[in-house]
């Protein structure tokens, strides 16, 4: 079921990954998967892979080997091993994401860092008068909170005008997103403004949906948006990631969420283009001015081991039938199945159609639970963790005018290779128990 590696694969989706999955049928077994994740707390139904990801034991061991190598003789490591190792990781990523050239691929700590890198150059654009005060930056209303703050810290502070694209939730189709985005771009261009940057999520965090990035990037190009930055924190290992197809200027994704790397590692793709200005890592060190990829590979003495284990991660992934494509497909199918099971059990609905999901899905929680604010979502989440051993994030959807007894709380369940169907049953039963007890969030203390 949820954890079976033998889940039938309907056809082989196209793959551009250079390292093809093993052809021999000695795929990883369920017992081996369980062993790889035996360091997870066994008492927790861990259905929140989307937040912090997961890392198998064999990759943790590889990471510790790298750490020890460094500690054994750091000078030698710095001069002989580090750059080579990072370059190898970058090369693998370049293949995975179908980038043209390894120079386009920098490794950074996380998508938050990548956002700071892109937005910092936007801020310089304003400060150095390349952009006019009041020129716009467009982002989705559901942009990640930390990215919104980064936009405030860099764009607003430097004199930019920020436009949020409102999106409905629940969502019915991509058309709703595209329509709102187009409207927002028009607002951005009003009064002779230029839209200097569009920040588009590939998979929004909360509420979670897959955004039609290809179409949005096309629209941006048609409308003369200067630069397009796709925040794809979740994407790699979760949905298809193809730089040439998507066509953005900048694209970042974490590898510690859905690609089995230890915390933390992400890539920032920067399309080679004469109009894209030089980007810099905000932590400046010896390699300043040598290009972002080289700058990012040395930002002072650090533990770079998470950035060096990508080859080991690929080995792990290729033990699964279909490699990463197989994992993605099975995760998606299972999470949709579990989502539908929960929606049926609670008498609610999904937050979007299955085709707008990847390895995560939003499900409405029964209205009687009384989720009336964001604070309630935190309280309920803590309650589920502490009382029921269920780890799941919850989203508060403010009711629209005139809505009565609407579903305002949605959970976001994830499915990763270590999950079992019991995890979702545990959650289902916990909510059912709360409903039968007449529980409301108001009963929980702050």
């Amino acid at each position: 079921m949820a954890s079976s590696p033998d889940h039938h694969l309907n056809g082989d989706p196209k793959t551009h990954i250079s390292k093809k999955p093993k052809l021999s049928p000695t795929f990883i077994t369920a017992a081996e998967i369980a062993a790889e994740f035996s360091h997870h707390d066994p008492n927790v139904a861990r259905i929140n892979n989307g937040s912090f990801g997961s890392c198998p034991a064999s990759v943790i061991e590889a990471q510790q080997r790298w750490q020890l190598k460094y500690l054994a003789q750091p000078d030698h490591f710095y001069f002989n091993e580090l750059k080579k190792g990072i370059h190898q990781s970058r090369t693998i990523i370049k293949e995975l994401i179908n980038a043209d050239h390894v120079d386009e691929v920098s490794i950074v700590d996380n998508a938050t860092t990548a956002a700071a890198i892109v937005l910092q150059q936007t801020a310089w654009g304003f400060s150095e008068r390349k952009f006019d005060k009041g020129d716009a930056v467009v982002m989705l209303h559901y942009a990640y909170g930390a990215v919104k703050k980064s936009i405030e810290a860099y764009v607003t502070r430097a004199g930019g005008y920020v436009i949020e694209v409102p999106l409905p939730f629940p969502l019915k189709s991509n058309d709703e997103i595209i329509a709102e985005f187009k409207k927002a771009l028009e607002r951005g261009k009003a009064n002779g403004r230029r839209v200097r940057l569009a920040v588009i999520d590939h998979i929004t965090s909360m509420p979670c949906v897959v955004i039609p990035v290809e179409e949005l990037v096309k629209i941006c190009r048609e409308e003369g948006v200067d630069q397009i930055f796709v925040d794809a924190a979740h994407s790699i290992g979760c949905t298809d990631v193809d730089m040439k197809r998507i066509g953005a200027d900048y694209y970042t994704s974490n590898l510690h969420k859905w690609f089995f790397c230890p915390p933390s590692i992400a890539f920032l793709y920067c399309r080679k283009s004469p109009k894209c200005p030089e980007l810099h890592h905000p932590v400046v060190s010896h390699e300043y001015g040598n290009g972002l990829a080289i700058e990012s590979a040395w930002i002072g003495t650090r533990d770079y081991s998470p950035q060096l284990v990508v080859p080991s991660v690929l080995e792990f992934i290729n033990r699964f039938e279909g490699g990463i494509e197989g994992i993605k497909k099975r995760n998606h199918e299972t999470v949709v199945e579990m989502g539908q099971m929960l929606a049926k059990a609670w008498g609610t609905h999904l937050g979007c159609p299955p085709e707008m999901c990847a390895s995560m899905i939003m499900i409405g929680l029964p209205a009687c639970l009384g989720i009336l604010s964001e604070k309630d979502t935190h309280k309920l989440r803590t309650h589920l963790r502490e009382k029921f051993g269920v780890e799941v994030p919850i989203y508060f959807r403010p009711p629209k005018n005139g809505e009565v007894e609407s579903i305002n709380g949605y959970c976001r369940i994830s499915h990763q290779v270590y999950n079992k169907v019991d995890d979702y049953y545990k959650f289902r039963d916990a909510i059912n128990q709360l409903v039968s007890e007449g529980f409301t969030c108001a009963q929980l203390s702050s």
């Binding site: 360091h39 080997r65 003789q73 998508a111 930390a146 980064s150 915390p263 932590v283 930002i299 650090r302």
Partner: protein, 500 residues
Amino acid sequence: MAEKIIMFFRYYVPRFLCPNLSFRISRPSNRHYHKLNHNDTQTQVSVKQKPSSFITDTEIQSEFSHHAPGIARINNGSFGCCPASVISSLHQWQLKLLRQPDDFYLNELPNGILESRTVIKDLINADDVEEVSIVDNVSTAVAIVLKQTAWSFVEGKFDKGDAVIMFRCTYGAVKNSIKAYFLRAGGYAIEVPFNFPVTSNEEIVNEFKTALRREKGIGRRVRLAVIDHVTCMPSFVMPVKELVKICKEEGVEQVLVDAAHAVGCVDVDMNEIRADFYTGNLYKWFFCPPAVAFLYCRKSVMTHLDLHHPVVSHDYGNGLVKETGWVGTRDYSPYLVLPSVMEFVNRFEGGAEGIRNRNHDAVVEMGKMLAEAWGTNLGCPPEMCSSMVMVGLPACLGVLSDEDAMKLWELLCKKFSVEVKIHYQNPKDGELAPITGYVRICHQIYNKFEDYCRLRDAINQLVRDGFNCGNLEVCMFLPSSTFLVCRLPFIFGFFPRTRF
């Protein structure tokens, strides 16, 4: 007397073989963790000494048995070191995170960081734990401070041409950061020269005063001073207290002390030094794993300056302490091991101070031994040394450029298994056969007398063989063509070389 006896045994008694790994890689599947003295409930860090049983020499060697054998590792200053018990603690934290990350990040991480910040606050004698933020390394701390100066230019608080003052030996990465933020935003850089070898604090102070007054005299506003506490290359201890005082007297608005080496190496007292910003790495001389550092910001400064971590996350606007406590999903475990490090340090007689004093005494003794063996000199008086000292190399070796220094460093590493940094010092005009090459030797608790003997003998052999740097081919570490373009400046010394 007791200390001399201990030093004798450490230097002259042959070391016993230790197992290669004194700790196990903690396999999650077998859940076996290396025993250590980690106390999960410890909130107040005690700096009191454990009575009697101090760490033994065998235990020290065991703690560092993961160091590559057969190398005379006399370059602790570059990358530091981390004992096995602290590595074990690090792995425990990492596994805790991986076990249940949501719970960890929400509940354990903030407490753990506060505990570490409290340890640091006590170590550096800061008034308030709110003055102490934890960051990855000094490079990050410098970016934080310089970024706010860049905004000051952009937002009109500073005028174009306002200056930053620093010494010529300011660390290369810091100079780059100044270029990336302060200069790019319209500022001007003043570099203060000084003579090396240094002979006294007074000459340093005078050079600084002269440069500062000269610039002020032509109407330049000096907004920021960046002062090393312990310089990297060439290495000596700056009279920071006096320099900070002069800055304040001369109206320099902000003083940043780059103390990358200081903690664990020299006395560090915020109430004595009184800088506005003070940053130090803890993985160099304070036994932390890579990488963890702190940025101290004087309370009076924080109230009117807008300081932000450049990696903006959820806590943006909630104060630097909170911002640095979360910069996105990361492995924060190096930030969390400070209590374990204190436990380690307190196994030594005299604790951190005892270690510092013994390192200093030993490195000065070794420096003098080498200078005598080579017929050269130290780079500064012993009282201006920390746990590192510069020792002149025989002039006949012909270290006549940064490139020569790199070549010699590589040769010592590859041929003699000696890891030590080499510095090229520009000769003063008119000097004949000057000593232009210096080694920077370090002493940390794992070092042995034989390490320095090996260096001594290696240089003596090179001298006997008539070796000259001019005879060596270009750096054998010449990287692959992929990196050639970017590494060339590095090799030929246009970059302030990686002189960690």
